[in-house]
Every structure is written in structure tokens, then in C-alpha cells.
């Protein structure tokens, strides 16, 4: 059986090997993912992001447990794939991937597959190949894919163009209301979570976030002027992830957002912008790779020198090289 067929049949070792090939941008991985691509599109991808130490991994652990359970409390057939991204060292390229530590409750469940990924130099909170890894899990029959980003600050918003539903996690004591009104990570939230709700100040954090959201989308606003987030007002949910508290509410919110996307037609809109984003990013990365690989005349090295000597600005140097490449 070929690797493609093995992955399609649900063989976990083959899936694991395929994910490595994809991550290494190996030609075989690209070929197999191409063969599997027609099988993708049925998974619901949930992104989980937030600052380091807010409890992302712990929350993913409990959300995965909840998604594996039907309303009757029994294990259901929905398989859950988890992708946990941690940062690579900018110096050695190495990484410590420690998200599994918080996900030990998930061990032994054949309906769950956890893959840790290093960011490998990417800055948006994911790695270059996270999107493709998610698609491979989709093709392998995972109904839910949870992607946990690198601990994010204010601007790591790539997850919003990869996930269908983005959960942003905050915790008490992390700044005042001006932080909540800055552009960036809060804007991408479909669901906001205030984790560690047992800590002092949690209620205050929740109120600040709700107020900030309300300023963004007042309920009485004329329908024609509402944003393209299409009338979805992100709920703010208080959780204590270590205790599993608030997880039922969170799961309900995810399901509600999923059906909102379907009913409002927003699902198609997001799929389109997902494809646009992925193509643009890949095109950019591949063009740069190709340019550097093919750079036999050492144009790039020359650019570095002229900019260092301040003979031209970086933008001029890039403009000139592009003109040369195009002619």
C-alpha cells in the first residue's frame, strides 16, 4: 500500500511519517499531500492562541476531552487532531516542545493524535508548514483539529487565517483596558476565554474584554455597517482549565460558532481567504527560497554589502534586483 493509501486508511504511523515529510518540505510529502488534497475540507479547525502561560495547553487538553464526548457522556466517533507549536531557538534552530506535558489526560485514546511542531523561524505564531500538517490530518479523517500557537504577544495573528474558529485566551492581571483596545490579537477572537478565573481580578478582566468587544460591535448597529465578521459577537467565557471548569460552555460556544459559520455563509468566505492567505504565503516563501538557491551571481550578497555601506536603501536594493530578475 502506498503512503497515501495508508494515511487515508487511518494508519497512525504512516500519518506521523507524512507529517515529518511535510514539515521537512520533502518532495515526497508534497506529492502525497497533493494526492490527499481532494480528501480534505471536512475538518473543523480550531485555533487556540494567547500569551505564554495563560493556559493554552491545559485548555486544549480539556477541550479535546470534551469534543471526544457526546451529549450522553459516552465517547463519540469524532477524532481530534492536535497540533501544538512552540518556538525554535533563533540561534541553534533547536526547540523544546513541552505542550504534551499538559495533555497527559489524552494518552491512550486512539481517537486523539498530538503532534508537536517547532516554529522553525516563522514569526506569526505558527510554522511555515502548520497549515499543510493540518490538511494532512484532515485527510486522515480527523473531524476536529486543534492548533495551539506559540505563546503569542500582540501581533501573532496567522492562526486566524488558518483556523475556522479562533479562541483567544487571556488571564487576569495582564494589563488595563488600553491593552484590550489595541489592534491585533483580540480582534481575531471568535471566542474569548478568561482562564484562571479563580485568581483575583478575573471578573475585572472579563468586564474589560466585554466592554472592548462591545465598542467594536455595538448590538444596535445598523446591519449594513457591521463588519465582515458577520454579526457574530464573540462570547467571553470564564474558565479554570486546570479543574476543567467552564469547558462545557467553551465547547458549546465552539459548536455554536461552527453552525454560525455554516448558516451565515461565512464559512465559504473564510475558506476563500484561507486559500488566498496560504497561496500568498507559500508563493512568497518559495520565491525567496528559489531566489536564494538560484543566486549563482551572488546578487544577494552584493545587496547586503551595498546596504551595509549605505550606498542604497534596502527597498531600493530589492527594487533593482526584482527588475533584473524580471528582465
Amino acid at each position: 500500500m502506498s503512503l497515501t493509501e495508508q494515511v487515508r486508511s487511518g494508519d497512525r504511523l504512516s500519518l506521523a511519517r507524512l507529517l515529518t515529510l511535510i514539515e521537512n518540505e520533502d518532495q515526497q510529502g508534497i506529492t502525497v499531500l497533493g494526492e490527499l488534497y481532494a480528501n480534505t475540507g471536512s475538518a473543523h479547525v480550531v485555533g487556540i492562541t494567547g500569551a505564554p502561560g495563560t493556559g493554552k495547553s491545559t485548555l486544549v487538553n480539556h477541550l479535546a476531552l470534551a469534543l471526544r464526548q457526546g451529549d450522553d457522556g459516552k465517547t463519540n466517533d469524532d477524532k481530534v487532531g492536535i497540533i501544538a507549536v512552540d518556538p525554535s531557538s533563533p540561534f541553534s534552530g533547536g526547540a523544546i516542545l513541552g505542550d504534551r506535558i499538559r495533555m497527559r489526560d489524552l494518552a491512550g485514546d486512539p481517537g486523539i493524535f498530538i503532534r508537536s511542531m517547532a516554529s522553525r523561524g516563522a514569526l506569526g505564531g505558527l510554522s511555515r508548514t502548520t497549515h499543510s500538517v493540518s490538511q494532512a490530518m484532515d485527510a486522515a479523517g480527523f473531524q476536529w483539529i486543534l492548533i495551539e500557537t506559540v505563546g503569542a504577544g500582540q501581533a501573532e495573528v496567522d492562526i486566524a487565517s488558518t483556523a475556522h474558529t479562533t479562541i483567544v485566551i487571556d488571564a487576569p492581571g495582564r494589563g488595563d483596558d488600553i491593552q484590550a483596545n489595541k489592534a491585533g490579537i483580540l480582534e481575531i477572537a471568535d471566542i474569548l476565554v478568561v482562564n484562571k478565573a479563580d485568581l483575583p481580578g478575573a471578573e475585572n478582566t472579563r468586564r474589560i474584554l466585554e466592554l472592548a468587544l462591545h465598542m467594536a460591535a455595538p448590538k444596535d448597529q445598523d446591519e449594513s455597517t457591521t463588519s465582515d465578521r458577520s454579526n457574530w459577537e464573540p462570547p467571553v467565557i470564564a474558565t479554570i482549565a486546570t479543574e476543567g471548569e467552564g469547558i462545557g460552555e467553551l465547547k458549546a460556544a465552539v459548536l455554536e460558532h461552527q453552525s454560525h459559520l455554516q448558516i451565515s455563509g461565512e464559512h465559504e468566505t473564510r475558506e476563500r481567504s484561507r486559500v488566498v492567505h496560504q497561496l500568498q504565503t507559500m508563493l512568497r516563501d518559495s520565491l525567496l527560497d528559489r531566489f536564494l538557491e538560484d543566486d549563482s551571481s551572488k546578487r544577494f550578497d552584493a545587496m547586503v554589502e551595498t546596504v551595509l555601506l549605505r550606498q542604497q536603501s534596502p527597498i531600493e536594493a530589492v527594487g533593482k534586483v526584482l527588475d533584473e530578475v524580471n528582465t
Binding site: 497512525r12 521537512n24 518540505e25 533547536g94 506535558i101 494518552a107 493524535f113 522553525r120
Partner: protein, 138 residues
């Protein structure tokens, strides 16, 4: 452009109370450019084999201080084999009496590191072992 980065699982099977040594090794391998999946304390052999499978690692490093290595290590090796993860190399660190070394090597442990091992030696041996790794493609 195909890249390869060594992926290593560092795991602590059994009931050890601390993981300082395992953390030191994990950190050293990170600084040598490897991706180290760290699973934390009190892992069962089943959890370790499953994590190795999902993460598709080249290498599993086990740290055992409790003296239970002759029970835990063979179980991990057995599971790896039964799951067709024969290509995964297993290293062992911790408090391991010299008398057990021949038996552990026979079972298939690639190397054993006792207290005080220089992390540079660990990295060198990791590189030696993994360059012998057969091609896993298909």
C-alpha cells in the same frame, strides 16, 4: 528545499520525583539544534511509545533514577518494536548499575549515560547513532 532536523523524545518512565537531569539533557540537545519533545514525569511505557509514534522521533531518551530500568526499558523497546518503530534509537540515562549494561545493550539500548556525563559526549553519540539510521522513506 528538504530540511532535516533531528527530533528527540525525552521521557521519564516510572515514579521518579524530579526531572532535573532529563531537563539538562533536553536543554543541551536543544542548543545542539535538535527538536526535543519533552513529556514530563511519570510516563508509562505505553504513553512513551505512543508519543514517539505520533511525533515520529528519531530517538527516544529515557531517564530513570528509581532502579526500575530492568522492568521499564524492555517494555518500551517491546512496544516500539511491535508498533514497527524499529528505526527509533533508544538511549538511557540515570542511575544504572554497571552490571545491567550488557543486558541493556543486548536488548537494543543504543547507549547508556550515567551521572556526570558531559552533555557534549551525549550530543556526539546522538550524532553517531542517528547517522547510522536507515532511510525511513516508505
Amino acid at each position: 528545499m528538504a530540511k532535516t532536523t533531528l527530533r528527540v523524545l525525552i521521557a521519564k518512565p516510572g515514579l521518579d520525583g524530579h526531572d532535573r537531569g532529563a531537563m539538562v539533557v533536553a536543554r543541551a540537545l536543544r542548543d545542539a539544534g535538535m527538536e526535543v519533545i519533552y513529556t514530563g514525569l511519570r510516563q508509562t511505557p505505553e504513553m512513551i511509545a505512543e508519543a514517539a509514534l505520533q511525533e515520529d522521533v528519531d530517538l527516544v531518551g529515557l531517564s530513570i533514577l528509581s532502579g526500575a530500568h530492568m522492568a521499564l526499558v524492555p517494555r518500551v523497546l517491546e512496544l516500539l518494536k511491535s508498533q514497527k518503530q524499529d528505526n527509533v534509537k533508544v538511549l538511557l540515562g540515570g542511575i544504572i548499575p554497571d552490571d545491567d549494561l550488557p543486558k541493556l545493550k543486548d536488548l537494543g539500548v543504543a547507549a547508556v549515560f550515567g551521572p556526570g556525563t558531559n552533555t557534549k559526549d551525549i550530543i556526539r553519540i546522538v550524532h553517531e547513532i542517528t547517522s547510522l539510521k536507515p532511510d525511513v522513506a516508505n
